[in-house]
Symmetry: C2
Subunit: 417 residues, 2 copies
């Protein structure tokens, strides 16, 4: 074995992307097919910059600990390769770096945009004659990748959002008679409402919250929203609203792009929840509080779902098996096995069918009034948040340790030269 | 035994206030001194409205489960009694309700304002001749009560804020080269910076975040702030800012009261983090993200500190013992026993010394530049976040169940009549 395998992380990181890294490295380390397991620093940028981390220098203790460590252990990036027909230079560079470090296997761990990159890299074989096995590995908290039943990162965010909504709802409920009546919780999801939907899992006979869920898939209507909030306060004494950051108006504009200006005439950064809070305050005169989860939700490894961690690891492992088989331009995906009990297996999907495709929340998952989730949605979501996979703690805090990330010696001139 | 004891919750609830309720009810149930353990619905408002919950109708399973249930199990309120000299009517009403339900012991669980209420109720003995044993029980996430070394609710918020800052920092760090460079995290603390300070616990040799902590105790200076953020990005590649909601300008005004107006001319609800994010964006042109923890932080029972839960329970237990002894106008407090290892015991403090007094973060806990915490602060804070006290989970979510809260039959006319 003289050939190396390279793993890289791309796009927004998740609380379990390193569990996938763990699956990749542990599996590849024991495989007879690969000499060394490399990781690119900051995704495809690290390949272009010839910043290659030699993971053989990392202890197995550190590699094991990746399974419970959030963030991106090797760094991630937001970078999209141009089409090979528009600009061949980056592709030539990739081949140079791959050749210089004897890399014949490339695993790219990311969402829809990143799988576009993986798909392009996979074409090096046919377009530039450099034989490579390029495997995509799914990852996105947005859960918007097609074909796969779910994507690593999402189950843990769903568990975090459902738990946080439950806890905050109990808080608001206790105080509503003489204090805050409306609580707004802004969650991620620019184009797809999967994350917001997960808050609906807490609704039960004894818990009326969340009373309103706002999805990007449903056009935001100010009057309907206000009416619904008012109804909830009259009926339950309080109202919990969970809003996707990506809700849009009739004209297609994001509600968060409110175009507000501050007292000094400067334009204000958007935000759905301050906008909605202001609306509720003006129209209904209710005391209102709001929270924005932002990166907290996608990094909350302390509350990860076991299902999610297991799948993240298994997909990393499967990607290595696909590489061992010399496959190219494919991605391991989760297939849900029909039946009452949740079971899943890993299958293979072509990258060309995954790249740049966004899967939105089906209309059948949203209640007719547009403010809640259906039984069908609950059945889909519930298995994904099962199990508590706590990280170890030291001195009261989760003990998250990162690899040293030592780079191999560069062999090429800088790029672009 | 023919006399009853009444417990009530007041002010903003915490993730462990029900652990105190659990300590109160379990201890009082086994005491020979009390006939029934009552709880007021929504704090002192429930007493005034004669809305009295009979906790003897609750199973011991439900009472036991209060130890891991966030929110306020019996409801809380924000309500301050007027001085007895200004308005005697509410006090006469309290005596009427206490007499009607044979209540001779009153335990009030809250922060500084609530202890003012407890202190006033305690004066019923001397001013209206109705002998009562009134005991305050500390509770505040703000940790601003005097005399007690810490207050139940704070340790768990500190653990949540430190953990969340750690997790989000790892996330930002992974992406900083090609994405977000500055992350702002807004936490509670209107007048005292204890909560913001707790984020400083994550700083270590391998973790440079949080790079900037903004305390209400330190006057906010726009230029110094921007300079510090820029320095951090140059040095670490990214910058994490933890900001108290209560930071103030030179003129004493809250930064959150930015007085901004939206595109339609409506005034916008404040918020420190959107303001700071806009500032960073304008002055430094860095990509910026922000999160607001709001109620999430004070209800996050899923990440409670063991120390906090134990103290919350123990203070409830101690309050019942004080009542058994017929004490009046006192509050059990935590005393830290000097020594290397963290140990604590419960002592007693007079309510008159507690009511309406706010304890701020000492200057010696803040670094000279005003943006971090000192070793002394870390030594104080660290013991308070120790231990993980997880709630039980069912079907992927914490199982939080509330009492039935059945009211006893009213015996009096409505108030005010």
């Amino acid at each position: 074995m003289t050939e190396n395998i390279l793993y890289a992380q791309s796009g927004g990181v998740t609380s379990v992307i390193n569990a996938t890294a763990c699956g990749v490295i542990k599996t590849a380390r024991t495989s007879k097919r690969f000499k060394k397991v490399f990781a690119a620093k900051n995704g495809i940028l690290g390949v272009l910059n010839e910043e290659i981390i030699d993971t053989t220098r990392e202890s197995s203790r550190i590699i094991d600990s990746l399974i419970h460590t959030p963030g991106g252990a090797f760094g991630s990036c937001r970078y999209k390769l141009r089409s090979i027909d528009d600009d061949i230079s980056e592709y030539v560079r990739l081949v140079d770096v791959f050749k210089a470090h004897k890399i014949k296997y490339f695993l790219y761990n990311g969402g829809g945009d990143s799988q576009d990159t993986a798909n392009k890299v996979g074409h090096l074989s046919s377009k530039l004659g450099y034989s490579i096995s390029c495997i995509g590995i799914p990852k996105t908290i947005d859960n918007d990748l097609p074909i796969t039943d779910s994507s690593p990162g999402f189950g843990s965010v769903a568990k975090y959002v459902a738990t946080s909504t439950l806890e905050a709802s109990l808080d608001v409920k206790s105080m509503a008679e003489s204090s805050t009546k409306v609580f707004l919780f802004e969650v991620m999801g620019r184009n797809a409402g999967w994350i917001a939907a997960s808050s609906g899992l807490i609704k039960s006979k004894s818990m009326s919250a969340p009373h309103v869920i706002l999805f990007p898939e449903i056009q935001f209507d100010e009057n309907k929203f206000i009416k619904k909030v008012k109804e909830a306060v009259i009926k339950s004494g309080y109202c919990v609203v969970v809003a996707s950051e990506g809700i849009k108006r009739k004209d297609g504009s994001f509600v968060s792009d409110a175009g507000s200006i501050d007292a000094f005439g400067h334009s204000q950064m958007g935000g759905v929840s301050p906008f909605l809070a202001d609306l509720v305050k003006r129209k209904l005169k209710f005391k209102c509080h709001w929270a924005v989860a932002d990166y907290l939700q996608r990094s909350a490894r302390h509350l990860a779902s076991s299902t999610d961690v297991k799948q993240a690891y298994a997909l990393g492992e499967a990607a290595v098996r696909f590489a061992e088989d010399g496959q190219n331009m494919v991605m391991p995906v989760i297939r849900r096995i029909p039946g009452k009990k949740y079971r899943w297996k890993i299958e293979s999907a072509k990258l060309s069918r995954v790249a740049n495709v966004e899967r939105k929340l089906p209309r059948s998952y949203i209640t007719q009034n547009g403010f809640g989730i259906t039984k069908k949605a609950k059945e889909y979501l519930l298995p994904l948040i099962q199990g508590e996979e706590y990280p170890p703690y030291a001195a009261g805090l989760p003990s998250y340790s990162y690899p040293k990330n030592e780079l191999v010696t560069k062999k090429l001139p800088a790029f672009p030269g």
